[in-house]
């Protein structure tokens, strides 16, 4: 197949990928969008085979490896519980990154096949492009591995910081630029390996100081990186499908990071430089312990809800940890049978990745038109009888609106305290991720329900 014809087909698959993202603008069109994505991928792969036109023994091996990878992927996709989506996505990012590194290495070792010149004498532009692809790919890989380990709980979710961290990172970033420059002028393969090694290192160092609740930003950022890595390789291979996709994914991840940062009222650099709350923690925990708290049990909660006419449920990461979403939906069903209006309020940074809560609620068969975003529902709290906060904390803290001293001041929060009464399911009074006390605990109209989220919800159902 001629290069021109195959380029047109790559363009078509690029367009199909755009349509795949476009489909996600509403749940009705989303499944069709996903189909477009699959179609685009099939076209891209088929065209590549036809373009190479080499159906020798190597082709069989390609198919075999494709099937091996494919079955592993399919197996994971069907087995993974929905609560594990954040770590799955982080893991997948690491694969994209590593694949980019491998393709770059292969292109470096064997530039002739990609029309990039000969080994030791690669075209300058191609060398720069593949260096960028390899470096960004390596950063994506090691960064995503750390994110994966943190989300899985294998590694501590709290920030790991040490003295001189920022200086070290800055030095490494500068050295990456120098190594790339030297690599381009000498074409030395040793420098290429050094570049990749140093990039792995910086990816690792960039993510370790970032804490668990900042993961939505990190995952989105790594999503963006994986796109830029793919685009870099796309330039090397002169492949428009790869360039278009890389640009789409890159900007998609960047927008998600932006939305997540806005949801926390923090600048991107503030998150990336890490260690949120580490400095404020000591101040926040002092002098507030002795305030009175009203605590109740499932019976009290059930009584309050039975007499309500409307309930807003505010889910957070704690619900995901306790896997309480199914119990929660059962509770909502029971309430609805008693003609109580139920809706859900989801904060943009609730959970560990963008849209985390929505997926879990969808898994529990909560219809998506009962689930609302912060801006859509925030005014309704004033007219609602009961706000049921389950596993969320910082995103409901009124301090963000009142106390300019607070580290979360200015963060958009759900106006939970405006509802007639607040039920707050939590295991203990411990402060949330930001390390600050939640004023809501001590409000007159708040009833604390100290228990595991799932168990408490089930107990409430029994009492309804």
């Amino acid at each position: 197949m001629s290069a021109n014809l195959s380029a047109i087909f790559y363009l078509i698959s690029g367009v199909l990928f755009i349509l795949a993202l476009r489909g996600l603008s509403s749940p009705e069109t989303s499944r069709q969008g996903n189909f477009f994505g699959i179609l685009g991928m099939v076209i891209a792969i088929t065209i590549t085979f036809l373009y190479i036109g080499n159906f020798s023994a190597g082709f069989i091996y390609v198919l075999i490896f494709l099937l091996i990878g494919g079955s592993i992927g399919a197996f994971i996709a069907f087995k993974i519980p929905m609560t594990a989506m954040p770590e799955l996505v982080a893991g997948f990012h690491s694969f994209v990154g590593l694949a980019a590194v491998f393709v770059a290495i292969s292109a470096f070792l064997n530039p002739e096949v990609f029309n990039l010149g000969t080994a030791g004498n690669i075209k300058l532009a191609s060398l720069i492009e593949m260096s960028i692809g390899a470096a960004v790919g390596a950063i994506t890989f090691s960064g995503s591995i750390i994110a994966f380990l943190k989300l899985r709980g294998i590694m501590t979710g709290s920030p790991i910081t040490f003295k001189g961290q920022h200086l070290l990172n800055a030095l490494i970033l500068i050295s990456i630029i120098i190594v790339t420059y030297l690599l381009c002028s000498t074409q030395s393969s040793n420098l290429f390996w050094i570049l990749i090694a140093v990039s792995f290192l910086i990816g690792f160092l960039l993510i370790i100081p970032i804490g668990g609740a900042d993961m939505p930003v990190v995952i989105s950022m790594l999503n963006s990186y994986s796109g830029w890595a793919a685009a870099g390789i796309g330039f090397t291979l002169e492949n428009s499908a790869l360039i278009i996709t890389g640009a789409l994914v890159g900007s998609s991840g960047a927008i998600l990071s932006y939305i997540m940062c806005k949801g926390m009222n923090r600048s991107f650099f503030n998150v990336i430089l890490g260690g949120f709350g580490a400095t404020e923690q000591s101040f926040a925990n002092t002098g507030k312990e002795q305030k009175p708290v009203k605590s109740g049990n499932a019976e009290d909660a059930a009584f309050l809800m039975k007499n309500a006419s409307s309930v807003i449920i505010v889910p957070g990461y704690g619900m995901a940890v306790a896997q309480a979403q199914h119990a929660l939906r059962e509770m909502a069903d029971t309430l609805k049978k008693n003609d109580i209006k139920v809706s859900y309020a989801v904060h943009p940074v609730a959970g560990r990745m963008p849209g985390h809560m929505n997926v879990l609620l969808a898994e529990a068969n909560v219809p998506y038109d009962e689930v609302f975003e912060l801006e859509e529902i925030n005014n309704d709290f004033a007219n609602v009888d009961v706000a049921f906060v389950i596993g969320a904390n910082d995103v409901t803290n009124p301090v963000a609106k009142t106390d300019p001293q607070s580290p979360i001041y200015g963060m958009p929060v759900l106006d939970v305290e405006k509802s007639k009464s607040v039920l707050f399911v939590k295991r203990s009074l411990s402060p949330g991720y930001a390390g600050i006390d939640n004023e809501l605990f001590y409000k007159e109209n708040t009833l604390m329900l100290f228990a595991d989220a799932k168990k408490m919800t089930k107990d409430i159902i029994k009492n309804l």
Partner: protein, 102 residues
């Protein structure tokens, strides 16, 4: 003077960033998780490069170093393609409206 093909690729790249920007802003926030998994799947179109890399070179030695990296990249990208699209499909199946419920 003739325009370097690189400039055309750069144009595609820049324009695609803008397309991405507007398309992604129109994605409803409740579908942000599927958005991430589907972008994951489509960025694995990098498999195109992996296939070229693994079929490169002389056919006597299928497994020289450069090809080997290509094969490894194929496995990784294939995991992502199948895993990414299927898990997205699985998630999207769950987003339903009220209707037949209860």
């Amino acid at each position: 003077m003739e325009i370097d093909p690189f400039i055309f690729r750069l144009s595609i790249f820049i324009l695609s960033i803008f397309i991405g920007y507007y398309v992604v802003w129109s994605v409803t926030p409740s579908l942000h998780t599927p958005l991430m998994s589907v972008t994951n799947a489509i960025s694995s179109v990098i498999i195109v490069g992996a296939i070229i890399a693994s079929l490169a070179g002389n056919s006597e030695n299928i497994f020289d170093t450069a090809n080997l990296f290509g094969f490894l990249a194929i496995i990784l990208a294939a995991i992502n393609i199948f895993g990414g699209f299927l898990v997205t499909q699985r998630m999207l199946q769950m987003y339903k409206k009220k209707k037949k419920d209860k």
